[in-house]
Subunit: 324 residues, 2 copies
């Protein structure tokens, strides 16, 4: 069994080895650009860790891991167009650096590249791998659609929000783990358990993100604390606050989310104060813990030794503990 | 062996049977809309005809045919955004009817749907089918990129143009036929021959389109004759005319393609006159015939009876003879 560091080295090497044609230049340069912007490579790492969990050499799963990473980057390129985002990992997004048309088409060809990597998987697993990948990809698209629709709605429930983040974020973690499990020759039951583990842990990660965006230590947080509040982003915290707030708290929320012009610091403090009065941070933490505990209970049921589970559990802990 | 009409009925039924989730509504409604706009379903029909050509029941290839049709419709949705096209088959394009974001994301999920259909192919052929499909899809994206780049360039050669239409239009015909051949258990040699046949016939079709756009009978042509001239579209005819023109003919082309304001009829007549002086129609026809003859010579080499080849040859003839 290889260490997580060894697997990360295998991944880095495989990403270096991804080659794309030189021409047409404007089709393939954006792909190299976005893939080399970096990132933590969590998703492909999950594929490899899952394969090793079931006692199979991670190298067997390297093409599936690349498929997941290229697909993930494809979603970033297209989501950034739709979200009108100027920056990604501190650099210009593809549609900003080139053009929207280039970002659409380079994204499309990345989806094809993801599928090309997938087709290199051992043919014994191919059908299962494709079905899992396609279901995952479809879920991610549905999640993005719901996320965009929620921006236009003011009646989004917590249940709907959880379903949206499940689709937009969590199914890809579940899908990555399940691909690794299939290639690792896991039983159907174990493959399903690790998928469910991934989905629940993914929801917990997103809730953690929602909390950090408001309550992170500004010195450790990589971006502006309160960014979600400033943008009226319908996070778990804002939705829960609207659900719980009455009288002056409700009025404060309604006012601050309706102002077109405002002092940024003043808005963040005012909304945060409503959150504090309503104990929103703890409610969010309780919900996060619920998904985390559900994930861990599912993980426990997987029929391999605790020793084999150590690396994946360590990574999960590290990801949950991040404060930046 | 089934008649082309019977195969068309199978196709219509299969398209009716394509089902998509109800929610999120704005993700899936555009897919139903674009697929039900109609069209001649030539590409999926080529899949089925090719399977039957090699003595296998077309029903074996129905999922591959659906994958090709859904993929083709995906390219229409994204190309229409990039080309800023308001109409498709006389109806509003997806980005006009909904929004650009909806068109991007519905297109993305159509690509996934195409892959889902592909994954239903008999696993014996799956690896080959995926490789052919992915190579084809990548080529189509490269063709669209080149087409967009050519709009910004004034030094496009005939050779580059032929390569662009090969990628944008012809590889999908070749790919459709090859998919049918793989599922029809054709030899590798025959699968390659029918692919090459498709590519060459595709180039001939596009050259035919270029000619018709200028020289079609206005009463039979479905759109405005001269549309390519009005839009300065770099077709085979315009590129060849620029290549051949000297003195006053060159001057006329340069002037008419540079005017921002002009009388439409006057421009069409003036450019057409240059074409006529330079015998461009016949040069284009000669080039078209070259690709057509190359296609037919390749088709002849395929190792099945002339009787089995009859339906595919008839369809090819009908498509080459269209004047609308």
């Amino acid at each position: 069994m290889q260490t997580t560091e060894q697997l990360q080295n295998i991944l880095d090497q495989a990403i270096q080895n991804l080659t794309f044609p030189d021409q047409p230049k404007h089709l393939y340069e954006p792909i190299k650009y976005i893939i080399n912007l970096g990132g933590k490579r969590v998703r492909p790492l999950l594929v490899l860790l899952s394969t090793e969990l079931f006692g199979t050499d991670a190298k067997e799963a390297i093409h599936a891991a690349m498929a997941i990473e290229v697909f993930h980057n494809f979603t970033l390129v297209h989501d950034d167009i739709m979200d009108n985002a100027p920056l990604r990992r501190g650099k210009a997004t593809v549609h900003e650096k080139w053009s929207t048309n280039t970002a659409i088409l380079s994204g499309d060809v990345m989806m094809v590249e993801a599928n090309k990597n997938l087709a290199k998987v051992n043919p014994i697993f191919l059908k299962d791998v494709l079905d899992t990948f396609n279901t995952t990809a479809q879920g991610v698209c549905e999640g993005q659609q719901l996320d965009m629709e929620f921006e236009q709605r003011d009646d989004v429930s917590i249940e709907e929000y959880i379903n949206m983040i499940r689709l937009k974020t969590a199914v890809l973690l579940g899908g990555a783990l399940k691909l690794g499990a299939i290639i690792g020759k896991a039983s159907e039951k174990d493959a399903d358990l690790i998928y469910q583990f991934g989905e629940n842990i993914g929801i917990a990660f997103q809730l953690h993100d929602d909390i950090l965006d408001v309550y992170a230590d500004p010195d450790k947080f990589g971006k502006q604390v309160g960014g979600d509040i400033i943008a009226n982003k319908k996070t778990f915290l804002l939705l829960k606050a609207f659900e719980q707030a009455k009288d002056e708290n409700l009025e404060a929320l309604e006012n601050w989310t309706s102002y077109k012009k405002f002092d940024v610091r003043e808005k963040v403090n005012a909304v945060k104060q409503v959150y504090d009065t309503l104990d929103i941070q703890n409610i969010a933490k309780a919900s996060m813990d619920e998904y985390l505990n559900k994930a861990l209970a599912l993980f426990k049921q997987i029929n391999v030794s605790d020793e084999a589970k150590f690396n994946l559990l360590t990574l999960t802990t590290q990801l949950m503990a991040r404060e930046y």
